[in-house]
């Protein structure tokens, strides 16, 4: 592999189920030790993309290269790409230690080396004291950590993570995200993480992509991806309001809206709900074409009555491709 060669290179990848396209010419690279996140709503093709990269689903076009090697004819178990599912899929008849030691033993590493590897990963993921437990006795978060430890113990070139925090509670999720990022960084493994949770994506990703209807729409550093939505659906997915601007639709953050003080301004927006969220007000409005707008109002906030007509203006907007 040349120094500029990405660890994983995906080019023009397409896949179909029963003739219906699921992935449409997806291309992106993952550098060494890089953690990339693909964000997209349910049904956008995220899981299928990971399964194609792992060799578990056939592709109809395109290529997947790992360190320059074309993986077209390489079966899943020889790819060096490990997939971690939404559910941890642990061996229920093996202890935590045996689960983590599974791949090293498969690779016929020496026993002492296996023990060291498992101990290192147990420490890294703070699983100490659980080594002899059965997976059924662990919490959801602990099971996911064991699954990650088992994955990293295989020393794959790339780890694929399919919404691993989807069934974890909010409090546990934040901690687990940080631990996963730390463990992946420490092991130097490249990773592709897919999720529909944009906060998770922007927290974890070195680079982020937005996947809609099987096509990668935006790709880049998280701050850039968030700051410059290109299309109305990308803007909505990222939490923007899509409003009619003078030269076409524009994206406006809920906190960038304000009431238009001009008495002559038309009032096309109608309040449908209003309340307080933490220390700010939240107002939901509907426009003339039934479009939904979310408006976050700083303190002091006096909730308007339902049905009140409102004139809106905004302090900043980003032009969108129609």
């Amino acid at each position: 592999m040349s120094s500029s060669e990405p660890t994983l290179s995906v080019g023009g990848l397409s896949a179909a189920w029963d003739g219906a396209p699921v992935l449409r010419s997806v291309s992106f690279d993952v550098g060494s030790g890089e953690l990339v996140v693909l964000l997209g709503p349910n049904g956008s093709g995220k899981t299928t993309l990971l399964r194609c990269l792992a060799g578990l689903e056939p592709i109809t076009a395109g290529r997947v290269r790992l360190e320059g090697r074309d993986l077209a004819r390489v079966p899943p178990h020889r790819r060096g790409i490990a997939l971690m599912f939404q559910e941890p899929a642990l061996f229920s008849h093996r202890t935590v230690f045996e689960n983590i030691a599974y791949a090293p033993l498969l690779q016929r590493r020496r026993r002492a080396e296996v023990d060291d590897e498992v101990s290192r990963l147990v420490d890294l993921l703070r699983l100490g004291g659980l080594e002899d437990r059965d997976p059924e006795t662990l919490s959801g978060g602990e099971r996911q950590k064991v699954a990650l430890a088992r994955t990293l113990a295989a020393r794959p070139r790339v780890v694929l993570l399919d919404e691993p925090f989807a069934s974890i509670d909010v409090e546990g999720k934040a901690e687990l995200r940080a631990e996963f990022r730390h463990a992946l960084r420490a092991s130097g493994t490249s990773a592709v993480h897919v999720t529909h949770d944009r906060e998770e994506g922007f927290f974890l990703g070195d680079r982020v992509g937005l996947l809609f209807d099987g096509a990668l729409e935006t790709w880049g550093p998280p701050a850039d991806v968030f700051a410059t939505p290109r299309t109305p659906r990308a803007a909505r997915f990222l939490g923007y309001n899509v409003l009619p601007g003078p030269a076409g639709p524009v994206a406006v953050l809920p906190s960038e809206l304000a009431a238009d003080p001009s008495p002559a301004a038309p009032r096309p927006w109608t309040v449908v709900a209003a309340g307080t969220v933490g220390r700010e007000g939240l107002v939901i409005l509907r426009g003339p074409a039934n479009e939904r707008v979310e408006w976050r109002v700083p303190e002091p906030f006096e909730p308007p009555s339902m049905g009140t007509p409102v004139a809106l203006t905004w302090v900043r907007s980003r032009p969108l491709r129609p």
Partner: protein
Amino acid sequence: MRRSAGEWALFAPILAFVTLFALLPVAFLFATSLSGAGGWGGLGALLADPLNRQAVGNSLLQGGLSAGLAVALGYPAGVFVGRYLWPGRSVVRSVLLVPFLLPSLVVVLGVEDLFGTAGLLSGRIPEASFFGSGVPGIVLVNLVFNLPLVVLLTATGCEVASRDLEETVATLGGSPARAYRDTWGRPTWVGAAAGGFLTFLFSALSFAPPILLCGARCYTVEARIWSLDTVLLDPSGAGVLALAMVVLFVAPSLAYLLLARRLRPSGGRRESGARPLPRRSLGVGLLAAETVVVLGGVALVLGAVLYRTVAPYGHQGAGAAWGTLFAPSTAARLGIGIPGALANTLLFAVAAAGIAVLLVVPAAFSALRGARAGTGLGLLLFAPLLVSPVVLAFALATFWRPLLGGESAVWALVIVSQAMLALPFALQTLTIPLSGLSPEARESAQTLGAPRFAAFLDADLPRARQGLLTAGLLAFALGLGEFTATFFLVTPRYTTLPVALYGLVNSRQLPLADAAAGLLLLLSLAVFLGLSFGGRRVEL
């Protein structure tokens, strides 16, 4: 979870039923037989009897051979059916139940039609007559009857395997062989082993095949018990041999039960990891070919019966046997006309199914509330199968017939025995879909003021109506085909179609027997269609 007294009371009907009509009569039978045979010393003397020892040996030989061959032949087909998606798979999966719903007599007849004297195959290839009688014929019947069960249970094993775990192993570097060994292979072995033990039990306790295809030298323990009681008029000897049989077969029965429980999906949901057929895979091609050969063989035997019902036979024209079957001469020979036998069959089966459904609904509710209670109940309900249909009928006749008074009790005892034999399968078929239901609807009903059982009836049972209907249809189908216990109990007035079929086969009226078997086969197929409609699923 702590149970209220009311919930325990829901167990009462099924416990009372099994106690009154299985445990108590069987215990009474064993006690009186032991006493009549001179106590435990009599048991030793009875087991020293060469004919009894031969019967035990025959049971072990026929059961072992049948189980070994059924697993060897059924395992690859089970993997193909359970693991891969192919056109017609769900239909084939449903059709696999048909032999299980038939009396073994129909299969005996099919084997005779193919391999017996002037059989469809042995008439052209004389060497094929090897399979028409004796131990090879008996084992062939056992295979046709049980091999589909091994296929089904192996396929079920495939369906409880976690596809995620298998794919995880692949992406961790495990080869397909390793993934088989560490993940999806294990449940398939469990399924095949459960099928093997079930085949062993059904074959070692088979009744009609050794009597009709071989005679006394091939009698299993079950046939020997019947012979001791009804031919040699030694009920004490029969009872003591039955006790020995229970002791002999308790281990394989428990093994089957424990293995079958491991095939139950957690939360009532199967992973259903079936995947599309891979292109150009030699291994899968071989699996497909083996499946076609094995299931084709089963279909050939059953098809021979249907063919004989319409084919010209001797100098008679096509379908002539149907006319004779309903003629007064047949009624005179059997002591009952075929319409009467058919009416008895349907009546008994409907009543048995009704009892089974009424008993399994509260039992399923109670079993759902606690895994231990469910396991205990499963073991309890399996007891009548462990003691075998002949012993159950023998015990019912010994204990209840004097109390109820002669022939008037026969119909009731037949219904009770058929319901008893259907209970474990009906309970399993209802409990698994029930355990897969989300509890929210039931809990909502409870928070709205419904007591637990009322909430179960209002919220859970309607959602599991397919399971309930399947349990009822299965109990009905098992009643339709039940031969052994019914044969032991009935008088001519209450003769059922399977018992009439036995009379026709035994008197070598083969064209008439084929027509009667064809009638049974068509009835079973109709029930099978009811079972498979809407994707209903029977749990073994």
